[in-house]
């Protein structure tokens, strides 16, 4: 078992609780021992970076400090936006001694442990797409996906900017496809899989956001996907919950089930509905479950 500090972020605590429960249930099967961080806050979701960037850096340094205090060398994330925000802050803190010293001093002044730069921020996707995690995943996915056609949707902030994320080629990513195949599914290819779902501006600029959201939904539907899978709960929320607005805007009857990464692998690994919580989805997952005879 690899001990990791587990940072679930806002959405998995709130509207996407199914992401948290499925991740917690899946973790031991892929060799991860989760040490959940309790005294942490939101990473700022890019918004605090844009409104109060110095505060953003401090909040993320605080999360990193509490992760380091667990003794784990990995901070596990399950959200693209958390991953970018934390990795960006971590790069800055690790590679600029003066900056880290100032912020670490500030942390200690308010009672937070210092941060020495000893943590690596990694998304669950990366943990199970290669190495031991991948080998365990293959063994765990015994129930399989029975050839289910799955459209991978990466979202933006696990790919770009690649100088901060850096796990895979941002234009030709492979990790989700590899996992879908390992679970016995068939990955569907389509151009918008690396594009934006529109979520960051879905409230302030809904029309612009929907113009982005329609691309992956439409392309995956036309490519014959049974479901889409995403490593990001924000992408999940726009793809799943805002699909009804796409229906209203276009008159097309989109009914694409959207799975969190941990749910897709979880189904293949035989997790229970109480852990997967598909009932919390807006677009019904029933057609997928019927196909898999779950």
């Amino acid at each position: 078992m690899k001990k990791v500090a587990y940072y679930k972020g806002c959405l998995a605590s709130l509207s996407a609780k199914e992401l948290d429960t499925s991740t917690q249930a899946l973790a031991p099967k892929v060799g991860l021992e989760l040490v959940e961080l309790e005294a942490v806050t939101c990473c700022g979701a890019g918004d605090i970076h844009e409104a109060e960037p110095d505060y953003y850096l401090h909040l993320n340094a605080r999360i990193l400090a509490y992760a380091e205090a667990t003794g784990a060398d990995t901070l596990l994330t399950i959200c693209n936006v958390c991953t970018l925000n934390l990795r960006q802050a971590n790069w800055q803190l690790k590679n600029d001694d003066a900056l880290r010293e100032r912020i670490s001093t500030n942390l200690q002044r308010v009672g937070v442990p210092p941060y020495s730069g000893g943590v690596e921020v990694r998304h669950l996707l990366w943990e199970i797409a290669e190495g031991d995690g991948y080998e365990l995943l293959k063994a765990a996915a015994h129930k399989g996906l029975k050839g289910l056609k799955v459209a991978p949707f990466y979202g933006c902030q696990i790919l770009r900017p690649s100088k901060i994320l850096g796990f895979e080629d941002p234009d030709r990513p492979w990790s989700l496809e590899r996992i879908i195949e390992a679970c016995g599914g068939e990955p569907i290819d389509y151009p918008a899989k690396i594009k934006c779902c529109g979520f960051p501006i879905i409230q302030a600029r809904e029309e612009t956001a929907l113009g982005e959201l329609i691309q992956p939904i439409e392309q995956a539907t036309e490519a014959g996907a049974d479901a889409m899978v995403t490593p990001c709960p924000l992408c999940h929320l726009s793809l799943d919950a805002w699909q009804s607005k796409l229906r209203a805007a276009t008159g097309k009857d989109f009914r694409m089930p959207i799975l969190h990464l941990s749910q897709l692998v979880g189904v293949a690994a035989g997790l229970e509905e109480s852990e997967l919580k598909f009932k919390r989805h807006v677009v019904s997952v029933k057609p997928v479950l019927e196909k898999l005879e779950v």
Binding site: C10, L11, S13, L14, S15, K17, E38, A39, V40, T41, C42, G44, G46, D47, I48, H49, E50, A51, E52, P53, D54, Y55, H58, R62, A89, W91, Q92, L93, N95, D96, L99, R109, V110, V112, C156, Q157, R160, P161, S162, K163, I164, D171, P191, K195, C196, G198, P200, I201, Q203, A204, R205, T208, G211, E212, L237, S244, K245, R280, H281, V282
Partner: protein, 370 residues
Amino acid sequence: MSHQLAPAPGSTTIEVSLKIWRYDADTGEKELKRYDVEAPDWVTLLDVLDIIKDRQDGTLAYRKSCRMMICGSCGMRMDGAAVLACKTRMWDIAQSGHVPVISPMGNLPVIKDLVVDMGPFWNKIRAVKPWLEPGYDEVAEKERIVSQQQMNVIQKEALCIMCGCCVSECNSMESDPEFLGPAALAKGMRFVGDVRDQTAVERLNDLNSEHGIWDCTRCYFCNERCPKGVDPRDAIAKLGAESVKQGIDHDMGAKHAKWFVHSAKTTGWLRETELVPKTQGIVSAIKQTKFALDLARHGKVPPPFPPHVADRVQESRALYNLVKEQGRDGALGIVQGEHALGRIEFTEEAGMKSSDPEIQPGVEPPHPEE
């Protein structure tokens, strides 16, 4: 004697193949055409296009000028990703046997082959008033010295060569063609952050328009594609931070961002259910009631009471107060991180010194009287 690219002494030649989208706006004809050439092993994509035009097909249209990554003329797409043709070496691609598809940049109308109409691009650059407004007309009697630290605030933005690679893949602009976009907004920051400019607040008000900074969807394609390290998305974030600092927060995007700050210092976690009314206002939020009820049926609208409060949340509140005292608000909060981020690109392997440079981006600019 025909114009030939001679191999450098000791170098060899390689076979390079391209598939190029040929297009003529006058006739509407479109064709993906393959070209195979023999070229010196050091060629760039631009060199290969030159060879094709010179030896095989004089009708091929593309823009070029300096051939050394400074004029910004030769932006185009290779396998769907915007690149400067003169910066793109072909050796690895040719060796792999892959035949890349070359097409014009996105988000701009195509005139012929790889040539796009840059008109909409320049209109947006013009809209951000890309000139200095120093607040005086007459030449001063002595020089007004600007420190390096002060210029570091806009160092990255000043690198822009206006090639359009960022605009090509801007996801927001695909959906809203009127979005000012990454190049114009980075140019806007280049003047907002210039200590000599006296119109920062006026500029920020303009950039907080409907198609301004809060239209950015944070897809980060611009940072990924920029061949000069401008990082336009970071420039847009700097503009957001400067706007909030100046109290320019009428846009829903600014209200949305400020609610995250408020959430972090009150409960620690995002106060998700209150985000919609706090962003859009009560009236708009009520119009969304049917949509919200549908979401609520699936547990997507967590009850705001009792709030989900993080352990030791008083620390994040205390941190906020401390940060405000230290005065690195606005764009400086982002600029201070650029020194470290720069190291990702300029590693020791690339031959750069690992010791601290004399110039420290992020160090607060000294006050003029000091």
